[in-house]
């Protein structure tokens, strides 16, 4: 059974008389441990797809199963719990709380899962250590560089050991050098067996992932899967092979 199972999902917004199909009948599976990117220009619906996958939003039609739970039937509180326990987010603008220091920011998800203070601090420091920022634990986010802030955000996303991590344009606000460092961090995490979904408009960035899905006008336009072509995703490079086109 795949980790995420999307079946005929549509998201429809209404602007007065007009009906906008942000997502149109999308079906998609994401397996455990996959490293996948969702590509598309702005307005294509990729962000909407990520929000639905990340339980921030619910679909107008269709079903989603995440780790065996039917999401579209869950209550708001259950969605919050799922976001807390099973999902980690990394955003373009880092989205750290400026009034909290680094370690408090990383502790934030554990506060909502009711982890005791001592364990919270330990796990937060361990997560910071994993992104090589343990020495900056007491700094404010504003005292860190963009790349460091993004690593703090990654530590926060990982601290509750989620089943799946969504990264929304994680390099969009970074220079190319720092962006590369962040991408290689994601690759490393993927090699450790994490399930990671990278959302981007940039095909170059998407090239780091073995599997890519291109969204256009709310539909899946292209699917590329190097793993099916017999290429080891751990190699992380190689020519992209077009495997299937709808």
């Amino acid at each position: 059974m795949p980790l995420v199972e999307l079946r005929n999902v549509s998201k429809i917004y209404r602007l007065g008389e007009e009906e906008i199909r942000a997502l149109d009948d999308i079906s998609l599976d994401i397996g455990e441990g996959e490293f996948i990117s969702i590509i598309g220009p702005s307005g294509s619906g990729k962000s909407t797809l990520m929000h639905i996958l990340g339980c921030l939003d619910s679909p107008s039609k269709g079903t989603i199963r995440l780790d065996g739970v039917m999401i579209e039937k869950a209550s708001a509180r259950q969605l919050a719990t799922i976001r807390n326990r099973k999902i980690g987010f990394v955003f373009q603008f880092f989205n750290l709380l400026p009034k909290l220091n680094v370690v408090q920011n990383v502790e934030l998800p554990m506060i909502y899962s009711g982890v005791s203070g001592k364990e919270r601090r330990q796990r937060a420091l361990a997560a910071l250590d994993a992104v090589d920022l343990a020495n900056r634990a007491k700094h404010r986010p504003s005292q860190l560089s963009g790349g460091q802030q993004q690593r703090v955000a990654i530590a926060r996303a990982l601290v509750n050991s989620p089943r799946i991590v969504f990264a929304d344009e994680p390099t969009g606000n970074l220079d190319s050098h720092t962006g590369d460092a962040i991408l290689s961090l994601f690759r490393k995490l993927s090699q450790e067996g994490r399930t990671i979904v990278l959302v981007t408009h940039d095909p170059e960035i998407a090239a780091v992932t073995p599997r890519r899905i291109e969204i256009r006008d709310g539909k899946i336009a292209t699917k590329i899967d190097l793993t099916l072509a017999g290429m080891d995703r751990r190699s992380g490079s190689g020519e992209a092979a077009v495997v299937a086109q709808p």
Partner: protein
């Protein structure tokens, strides 16, 4: 791969407690990061709480002062029976009216079990003189020794006259401090407490021996002031001629009730009757000069100017009055030449006044608390619109609607509680300030219950003011909140 339980209930409970502690800390941090803004917000609550406490302290002080005065004149159980002009339909019987006499005392003693204490009074106009000075006390009357208990007097020096003194009509008297102050000098003036017991005093020209003096009656407030002045003014008086500054010129500012009580002179009832023939003729009080002047010789007994009785309990006041009325109607041959005075009317007036003072004070304090609450709500709304993104982030990492609701509500309550505590502290200063220019003699009393109620109200205001902003924050859509700039 199985779905883990989404929310186990004991875990959820522990979670919510941990969450609460963290929310309180977060609220404190939020307040600390906007110190000035939070202080201004709290000001409304501070004013509301301190005015609530100060108001209740003022009213409590007034209430205590009024109760003290009420006790000083004999308490609620005291009923005065006084002569009164006859009702219109009995006017023609006025020459047969017997007036209040010792007979009534005996009749009541035997037939009115609800009455526990009797004090017949025979008042007489008196001029006291000693050492070349004269003084006209407010109240000079012949009484039984029971008057001591009836009017809550305490003999400080010497003794009260007893039944024997009364029986053989000795020329003895017990005076209040006002008489001593006027004839021998007040302690404040002469620098020492003069004990006039054993001195001779002339009452309407007849020599009497002072055998006792009451203690000095004063309100709590006066007592404190006097002690303070005493400890301060140990220095000797400046030399020179001591001027008489007129009646009561050097008198301390005095509560009238207590002054009147001090200006009392008691003589044995029989002495007054036998030496002054005071009860021989009696003016009926309310019919003025127009009529019922009877020589007691024609009806026998000496007339009393009044009869004070104490009833068993205030709860049975009306029954007791009825009982007394029945007995007296009998002894007075059906002529209603007496009336009752109780302290109830006065007590009612006091209660009405205090009720009104409390109501208007509460209204003012309530309005300032309301304004404080509006201030909190305003600032919480401003605060959440500044923090839309923060709320989005918190939701994205798994904060439930209820978590955000709690967080905002706790912040609001923390502001209110801090304001409330500061208000309680401020109220002490405010009470001191008010009492320094207070029109009443009564020191305000800060009660624990007033503090508790004021504090509870401040918390309530915090909760009520926080609910709407908290709902607004909790309902924010996480996606829009994350995009918010």
């Amino acid at each position: 791969m199985s779905a883990g339980p989404l929310a186990a209930s004991p875990e959820a409970l522990r979670h919510s407690w941990a969450q609460l502690g963290i929310s309180i800390l977060a609220g404190m941090r939020e307040i600390w990061s906007h110190k000035f803004r939070s202080l201004l917000t709290m000001l409304g609550i501070i004013l509301g709480v301190s005015s609530l406490v100060a108001m209740s302290a003022l009213v409590a002080g007034m209430e205590k002062g009024a109760k003290e005065a009420l006790v000083a004149i004999g308490g609620l159980e005291k009923v005065s029976i006084t002569p009164q002009g006859l009702p219109v339909e009995q006017r023609h019987l006025s020459d047969q009216a017997v007036g209040i006499t010792i007979n009534d005392v005996e009749a009541l003693r035997q037939s009115a079990p609800l009455v526990t204490l009797f004090s017949p009074e025979m008042r007489m106009p008196a001029t006291l003189s000693a050492k070349g000075k004269t003084f006209r006390p407010w109240n000079c009357m012949g009484v039984w020794p029971a008057a001591l208990e009836m009017n809550e007097h305490v003999v400080e020096y010497g003794r009260m006259f007893n039944e024997l003194d009364d029986e053989i009509a000795r020329n003895v008297c017990v005076i209040g401090t006002a008489t001593r102050d006027e004839l021998w000098g007040a302690p404040e003036k002469v620098g020492q407490e003069i004990n006039p017991v054993g001195e001779t005093i002339f009452i309407n020209g007849v020599p009497f021996t002072i055998i006792g003096m009451f203690k000095h009656y004063e309100s709590e407030e006066e007592r404190k002031e006097r002690l303070l002045a005493q400890s301060k003014a140990a220095q000797p008086q400046a030399g020179g001629v001591v001027r008489n500054q007129g009646w009561g010129g050097s008198k301390r500012r005095s509560n009238f009730v207590f002054y009147l009580k001090n200006a009392t002179v008691y003589l044995p009832l029989n002495t007054v009757w036998m030496k002054f023939r005071a009860g021989a003729s009696q003016f009926s009080i309310s019919s003025g000069g127009g009529g019922s002047r009877t020589i007691s010789g024609t009806t026998g007994d000496p007339r009393l100017s009044g009869l004070s009785v104490k009833i068993a309990t205030v709860d049975k006041l009306s029954e007791s009055l009825q009982q007394i009325h029945n007995v007296l109607m009998h002894t007075h041959k059906g002529i209603e030449d007496f009336s009752f005075f109780t302290q109830e009317d006065w007590a009612d007036q006091i209660n009405t006044f205090i009720h009104n003072a409390r109501l208007s004070g509460s209204l003012i304090a309530g309005i300032s608390l309301l304004v404080g609450g509006i201030g909190i709500m305003n600032i919480m709304l401003a605060s959440i619109s500044e923090r839309v993104r923060e709320i989005g982030i918190r939701k994205s990492v798994g904060a439930a609607t209820s978590d955000i609701f709690t967080q905002i509500l706790v912040e609001s309550v923390v502001i209110a509680i801090l304001g409330g505590l500061t208000g309680l502290a401020t109220s002490f200063a405010l009470v001191n300030l008010i009492s320094s220019f207070s029109p009443t003699d009564n020191a305000p009393i800060i009660k624990i219950t007033a503090l508790a109620i004021a504090f509870a109200f401040s918390v309530l205001v915090g909760v009520v003011a926080g609910i709407f902003p908290a709902i607004k924050a909790a309902r924010l859509n996480p996606i829009q909140a994350l995009r918010y700039e």
